[in-house]
C-alpha cells in the first residue's frame, strides 16, 4: 500500500461512512449518486472543467489535428503488484493516444460498478486514477457512473476515452514503415502479464514481479522533440510483442526480423514463462512499446529513450528486412536458426507438463 491509500483513512468522505458498499441507488441519478460524484469523484479529479458538472464538458483545444480513442478495462484482480484497474484505465488510453504521437489532453471516465463493491475499493481506484492522470499529464473532464445488480458485473469496470493533440505533421502508422527501419523496444517484456496472472491465480513465486504499467506519451513526445522521424509505434498490450509485430508486418506488407538474444526479459519472468509454457513474446505489457525508426536515426532514438524514465532499458531488437513478405516476422533463435513468430492464438493457456 502506498502513502496515499493511508491518507484515505483520514479523509474518508461522507458517502463511504454512510454506505460502506455500493448500492444500486448510487447509479440511479438521485441523491446517492449525486453524493458519490460530489464527495468522491469531483474532489479526486478536481479541475474547473469537470466541476461545472454539465452534461458535456466544454473543451478549448489548439488548432490542428486531434487524436481520439477509447478503451475498456476489465482486469481481474482489480489490484495487482505494480498497478490496478484505475492506473491501467488512465495509462492504457493515454498510451493509445501516444501511439500516433499525440499529446494527451483530456480523458473521460465511465464506471460500471457492481452492487456491493466496497466503497473503499472504489475510493482506492479513483485515487489511483487521480495519481495516474497527474503522472500522465491529462485531465479527467467528464464521466459517468452506473451500477449493475450484484452478480452482473465483476466488481468494477472502467471505460476511458481520450482526446489528444498532434503537434507534428508525421503520420505514425504501419503504412509508413520502410525497409531498413530499426525496431526499438523501451524495456523488458512480460512483467504485466505475469504479475496479473500470479495475483489472479494465487501463484506464489520466490520473487515479486511488478507490472510495467506506465504512461508512454512523454517518452514519445521526447522522441519527436528530439527530431526522430517515427514511422510506426505500437504498445505491446494483450498478445504481446509477437502479435504487435505480426499485425504491423501485415499492414505494412513488409517482413521483419528480430534477434531472440536481444529481446529483453527479466530472468524471473523468463523462468516463470518456462514453467507455465508461455512465450514471453506473447505475454501482455502495459508500459511497453515498439518503435520503428529510420536506420540512420536508430542510435539517437535509442539514446533519447535511455535518457527517459520510461525507456531506460530500451534496446534494439531487429529490423525491417523483406519486401513482399507480408505478415512474416522471423526470429533468429539463440542457437542461430530462423523461425516464424506468430500471433497469439486465443488465450494463453498454461501447459500440462
Amino acid at each position: 500500500m502506498t502513502d496515499n491509500s493511508r491518507d484515505f483513512q483520514l479523509q474518508c468522505p461522507l458517502p463511504i461512512r454512510r454506505y460502506p458498499r455500493v448500492m444500486v441507488a448510487h447509479g440511479g441519478g438521485g441523491r446517492l449518486m449525486n453524493d458519490l460524484i460530489r464527495e468522491m469523484i469531483l474532489p479526486a479529479f478536481d479541475n474547473p472543467i469537470l466541476s461545472q458538472t454539465m452534461d458535456s464538458a466544454s473543451l478549448r483545444v489548439p488548432a490542428g489535428r486531434l487524436a481520439f480513442t477509447t478503451d475498456s478495462y476489465v482486469v481481474k484482480p482489480l489490484f495487482f503488484p505494480g498497478g490496478d484497474i484505475g492506473s491501467m484505465a488512465v495509462y492504457g488510453t493515454v498510451n493509445d493516444l501516444a501511439m500516433i504521437g499525440a499529446r494527451p489532453l483530456f480523458l473521460s471516465a465511465g464506471f460500471i460498478l457492481e452492487e456491493g463493491l466496497p466503497m473503499e475499493t472504489l475510493w482506492t481506484v479513483v485515487q489511483s486514477m487521480k495519481r495516474g492522470a497527474e503522472k500522465a499529464g491529462v485531465t479527467i473532464v467528464t464521466g459517468d457512473t452506473k451500477v449493475v445488480d450484484r452478480g452482473k458485473g465483476d466488481g468494477l469496470f472502467i471505460n476511458t476515452a481520450g482526446i489528444g493533440v498532434l503537434e507534428h505533421s508525421l503520420e505514425i502508422a504501419p503504412s509508413q514503415v520502410k525497409q531498413g527501419d530499426v525496431l526499438l523496444v523501451n524495456g523488458d517484456l512480460g512483467r504485466h502479464g505475469i504479475a496479473v496472472l500470479a495475483a489472479r491465480e494465487g501463484l506464489e513465486f520466490e520473487t515479486s514481479i511488478e507490472s510495467d504499467s506506465a504512461p508512454l506519451a512523454d517518452l514519445v513526445l521526447t522522441l519527436l522533440k528530439g527530431g526522430i522521424e517515427l514511422h510506426c509505434l505500437r504498445d505491446l498490450t494483450r498478445g504481446g510483442l509477437a502479435s504487435a509485430l505480426v499485425e504491423i508486418s501485415e499492414q505494412a506488407g513488409l517482413g521483419l526480423t528480430i534477434q531472440e538474444k536481444s529481446i529483453p526479459c527479466r530472468p524471473d519472468v523468463r523462468a516463470i514463462c518456462e514453467v507455465l509454457g508461455f512465450d514471453p513474446l506473447h505475454v501482455a505489457n502495459e508500459g511497453r512499446m515498439v518503435a520503428f525508426v529510420p536506420a540512420e536515426q536508430a542510435d539517437h532514438a535509442l539514446a533519447l529513450m535511455k535518457g527517459h524514465e520510461q525507456g531506460k532499458d530500451a534496446v534494439r531488437i531487429g529490423q525491417v528486412t523483406g519486401v513482399d513478405c507480408k505478415g512474416q516476422v522471423t526470429l533468429r533463435s539463440v542457437i542461430g536458426a530462423n523461425r516464424l513468430v506468430d500471433m497469439l492464438s486465443g488465450e494463453q493457456l498454461p501447459r500440462i507438463c
Binding site: R270, E274, S333, I335, L340, D342, S345, P350, I352, C353
Partner: protein
Amino acid sequence: MKFVDEYRDPALAEHLVAAINELVTRPWTIMEVCGGQTHSIMKYGIDQLLPAQVVLLHGPGCPVCVTPVEILDKAVEIAARPNVIFCSFGDMLRVPGSHGDLLSAKAAGADVRIVYSPLDAVKLAQAHPDRHVVFLAVGFETTAPANALAVDQAARLQLQNFTVLVSHVLVPPAIEAILSAPGNQVQGFLAAGHVCTIMGSAEYEPIAGRYGVPIVITGFEPVDILQGVYMCVKQLEEGRSEVENQYVRAVRAEGNRPAQELIRRVFRVIPRKWRGIGEIPASGLGLREEYSAYDAELRFDVAGKTVEESSQCMSGLILQGRQKPPDCPAFGTLCTPEQPLGATMVSSEGACAAYYRYARGR
C-alpha cells in the same frame, strides 16, 4: 537462467552440429517421442541445423493430442451437469470434442477452471463441500504421480465430492506400436526425458533389444536434443541398439521409486484408446478398484460412451510419424489453431501447432 541458458548455448550447439555432420554417412530417420521436444525443435529451428541425411519424425508424446474424443465429450458432458466444478490443465480446454470444447462449455455456463496442480482441485473440493469437483487427469507417466497423489489425498481426507476423469497413457507401448506397424520408418528414438525421470530407463531395454533400435533418453533444450541426436546417430552408424541416457542431470536408471510406488498404488495398467491411433493393449492407466469411488466416469455414469473421429484429420498418421503436418491437405487452411480439426493443432506440444506456429511455408 541457470540450468537453462547453458543448454541453449550457441557455441555448444554449433559444436554438436559439426560433430553430427562428421559422423553421418547415410540417411537416418529418428523419432523424438515427446511433444515438448518437437516444440523445441521447431522453436529453435534445430531441424534446420541438422545435415539433410538426418530426418526427425515427431512422435505421439503429446498428452493433449492422444486423449480420445470420447474423453473430451465426457468432460464437456460432466462439466455441464449442475453443481459441478470441472478442473483441468489449461491445454485441454481448447481441444475439440465432437460437440465443442471445454471453453465453449464454460461460455455456456459451466464452471470450468484451470488449475496448475491436481492438488489445487482437491483443495477446491475441500473449500466447496456442497459442490462436486472433477479433475481431468490426462498425461503420460510424467503427470501420473501428481494425479495419483490427488486421488490418494482425497481418499485420506475422505472427500465425497471429488472425482477424476482419467485418460492416462504410457510411452513404451506406443513406441512398440510404432515399431511393429507395417511400413515403419523409424530407426532410432529420442525418448522423453521427463517420463524417464519418473520411470527410469529399464523398461526401454527390452524394446531396444527386440526391435534393434537405439533409444536415447533426451532432454528438451536445444543442446540436449542435438546431443541426443548425436548419440543416436553414433549408435546407428556403429550398428548398436542400446538404451543410453543423454538427460543425466534428471534421469537415473531406476527412476523415481516413490513416484512409481504411488502410481502403482492408485492406478493399474489397462488398454487405452489413443486419439487418431486406436486402442493399444496395456497402454494406459485406470483407477484401481479400491479407488473406484473417485472415478468420475462411474460417478456420472458416462463410462460406456464411444465416439468416432473426424475423417478430415490425419493426426493419427502424424502421431505415428508416418506423415508430417504440412503433408495434410487441411493444414493451415481448414485446420488452424483457431479452428482446429484435431488435437495436434491445439496443444502447445502438438506437432501441427508447432509447424503452424514456427515453420509455416518453410
